[in-house]
């Protein structure tokens, strides 16, 4: 009745008001009186649906939205209805997805962006909304057909989306049923899909482009043995990309995971990162040869070898794999002083400016298993301890209700451990994260995080990982919230300077690629920017930029934090990168470079003098 209301209400006359009050009530009563409940049975996808909430109006069937068979039909279609008593709009989201919208009293109904006029408007009978049945079925891509004595609901292909992207051809067909196509025939230039028991409102041939010459749709047979064929003719020589999904190589034994050169005016440092326990032996030759080398025994080189030329006191740096050891060799211009300092995760070789006579010619040592060997130990509770009871109150922590910063410190954050960086390998244990081709995000993130740890430690940073193995941080199968909180607790309780969370992305569109650094707080921005920039410049991958988002770990870390989505598992190119140990090593070095650039430009804040 609302069309009557709309046409009369603008006059504003008393008469119109009276009509508005009277006509709907008469109409509503009329609908109920005129309605003759009647069952309506149809065959659909091998089952019989009997609609019992059927009313007639103006010679048209209307179906009640509470009809159990209607609910079964929607379920079979993968469609969902949004309507509650008292609401005007009856909205159905199809599996396509597309929204079919009816409104009480309105002849207009919409299917996606297309509007149409129904023969009867939806109406209320009691508290149940009734929809025009024929229009509803058509909107659901179903066509009622009488086959002998059987009334059949035949699914119709009403939409076909064919596209070619990245050498991959995708055909999406939409009909009033879950489709189970089979490939009828296939050649390099043509593929034919067959849809049994399905008709089509689309017929003929349509040119597509982008590697697809055209698509042809034809139907064959009669209901219920109707078949629809979709033929895709490809342009010759279309490149087809079949991404390989090999397993992530498993490290065998102790590895030299990074060899970084840090050169400045005062000295020249080579940081060798080692993944586990190892011994080393070094030698140097007397002038005028002035060569130095160090062998890290029992290790494999996990990064690329190098042969770099330099000017100054060090003229060359070479890194290569020997039988049973990794050798790092330096060529010196003179007899410079050399310091060899082992740490928990590597060894640093520092070449100074001073000329040393009678310098030692050899030495050896061991690389230990304590991560904090060359730095001040950091007293941080283990994640397990954190999970056992309430957190100790921190004088810096307040609870506010401001959006997105609920537990933040009340004044600018001052790290109590300014040399400590917490690295969070995303997911782990019972949570594999994203998975593609057997490659799990949790495995990749742990590998990258471990490499990053090694690089940072070799550069003198303290590092704590939220996990060092394939484990959950809090507990297996814990809910996401406490699990994520346990991760940020590692950093918050330790008073860390930075929090770095490592992830790998995934998306339904395989063409999406690149690295994104997510942040949440204003103080995260420079860190995210530096990390993103160094990754983009070092790896040459697509720079998706820094993105502000409402992510749990970056929101709840007190300190500057960044969540690095390193690359997309779903993109063939990125996937190949992620599966490359050399690429992961370069990535770890790039992240470390970004962290150091940030740290250089943003010194750690110090407590106010009165504290």
């Amino acid at each position: 009745m609302s069309w009557i209301r709309r046409s009369l209400a603008p006059t504003g006359s008393a008469l119109a008001v009276a009509l508005i009050l009277v006509i709907p009530s008469v109409g509503a009563r009329g609908a109920v009186v005129a309605a003759q409940p009647q069952n309506y049975s149809v065959a659909y996808q091998g089952m019989t649906l009997t609609f019992t909430h059927i009313l007639w109006r103006s010679g048209q069937r209307a179906i009640g939205v509470a009809d159990p068979a209607f609910a079964a039909l929607l379920h079979g279609l993968g469609a969902n209805m949004t309507w509650h008593a008292g609401e005007r709009d009856i909205l159905i989201t199809t599996a396509k997805p597309e929204v079919i919208s009816f409104a009480i009293g309105d002849l207009r109904y919409d299917v996606g962006r297309v509007s149409a006029q129904a023969r009867i408007a939806p109406f209320l009978a009691g508290r149940e909304a009734y929809l025009p049945l024929n229009e509803l079925l058509a909107a659901l891509s179903l066509s009622p057909i009488q086959v002998g004595k059987t009334r059949l609901l035949e699914p119709q292909i009403t939409s076909l989306d064919v596209r070619n992207s990245g050498g991959r051809t995708t055909v999406n067909a939409f009909a009033g049923a879950r489709l189970h196509p089979r490939i009828a025939s296939q050649t390099p230039a043509r593929i034919v899909y067959e849809f049994d028991g399905v008709g089509s409102t689309l017929t003929g041939t349509r040119p597509i482009g982008q590697g697809i010459r055209d698509v042809t749709v034809r139907t064959q047979g009669r209901p219920p043995a109707l078949r629809t064929f979709v033929t895709v003719d490809l342009v010759a020589n279309v490149a087809r990309v079949t991404p390989s999904a090999g397993p992530l190589p498993t490290p065998a034994g102790t590895q030299v995971t990074a060899v970084d050169v840090i050169a400045n005016a005062n000295n020249f440092t080579i940081a060798v990162a080692v993944s586990g326990d190892a011994t080393y032996e070094w030698h140097r030759l007397a002038a005028p040869d002035n060569r130095f080398w160090i062998d890290v025994d029992g290790t494999q080189l996990a990064t690329l070898g190098r042969d770099d030329r330099w000017t100054g006191h060090v003229t060359a740096v070479r890194v290569h794999q020997n039988a049973g050891s990794v050798r790092v060799a330096l060529s010196l211009a003179d007899a410079q002083s050399i310091d060899v300092v082992p740490s928990a995760t590597g060894v640093r070789i520092t070449v100074g400016n001073a000329i040393v006579a009678n310098a030692p010619r050899a030495g050896n040592g061991s690389i230990g298993s304590d991560v904090y060997a060359n730095v001040e130990p950091v007293a941080t509770p283990t994640p397990a301890a954190v999970s056992e009871g309430p957190l100790p109150a921190s004088p810096e922590v307040t609870s506010t209700t401001s959006p997105g910063w609920k537990f933040g410190p009340s004044h600018p954050y001052v790290p109590t451990s300014p040399h400590l960086i917490v690295i969070d390998p995303g997911h782990g244990g019972s949570d594999p994260g994203s998975v593609r081709g057997g490659v799990k995000e949790k495995t990749l993130t742990l590998d990258i995080a471990t490499r990053l740890r090694d690089v940072l430690v070799s550069r003198g940073w303290q590092v704590r990982m939220t996990r060092t193995g394939d484990t959950d941080v809090l507990a297996p199968y814990a809910e996401a919230h406490p699990e994520l909180q346990a991760r940020v607790d590692v950093a918050n309780n330790a008073g860390a300077r930075l929090f770095i969370s490592i992830h790998a992305n995934i998306f339904s569109d395989p063409s999406v690629s690149g690295t994104t650094s997510f942040y949440s707080k204003p103080e995260d921005v420079p860190l995210a920017q530096d990390v993103e920039n160094t990754i983009a410049s070092a790896l040459g991958t697509r720079n998706d930029g820094i993105v502000k988002s409402h992510l749990y770990v970056t929101l709840h870390a007190y300190m500057p934090a960044v969540l690095v989505e390193t690359a997309f598992l779903s993109n063939p190119g990125d996937f190949a990168h992620l599966n490359s140990p050399a690429w992961r090593q370069r990535l770890a070095v790039a992240i470390a470079d970004g962290i150091e650039r940030y740290a250089h430009d943003n010194p750690a804040p110090t407590p106010p003098p009165n504290e």
């Binding site: 603008p10 997805p97 009293g105 309105d106 996401a480 502000k548 749990y552």
Partner: protein, 169 residues
Amino acid sequence: MKAARLVALIIVLVLIGAAIWYFFFRQTVPTTAAIDYMKPDGTLATWTISLRSPQPGEGAAASTYERVLYTAVQEVAGPPSDVDAVRFPPGTHVQSVRVDGSLATVDLSNDVARQTGTFGENGEFKALVFTLTSVPGINSVQVLVGGRRLPTLPGGNFELDTPLTRSDW
């Protein structure tokens, strides 16, 4: 004669008044709504849907509710299938909405919990919040999943237990 002039004058004034009223009525009732979606390159774009005219006598609160419901359902369904967009996981639909002042609460089906990665999560919820906060009077959006308030989606990173605003992006 004088009476006829008076009647004519009244008719003219009524017509002018009706024209003015019609003009302002058309100005204040939008006939379309912009639905945001995120493109695969990470930028926001919009597509337009046509709105039904409000029912005469429909109050502002009811009108806001209808519009929040309609745009939320359209937003979650996403733009036409031939448009490249970040989309909610298949099957995700709006179960109900509620409007309390400037807060719109949207209850999504459990299908939303199917993991889509940070890129997808960020794009989905950003588009939803931007679409709903474009409804006059709506400033923030609380997302429920299966009728419950969740801190994050299972296995996800995006925090959902507080109302989201545009400033979260």
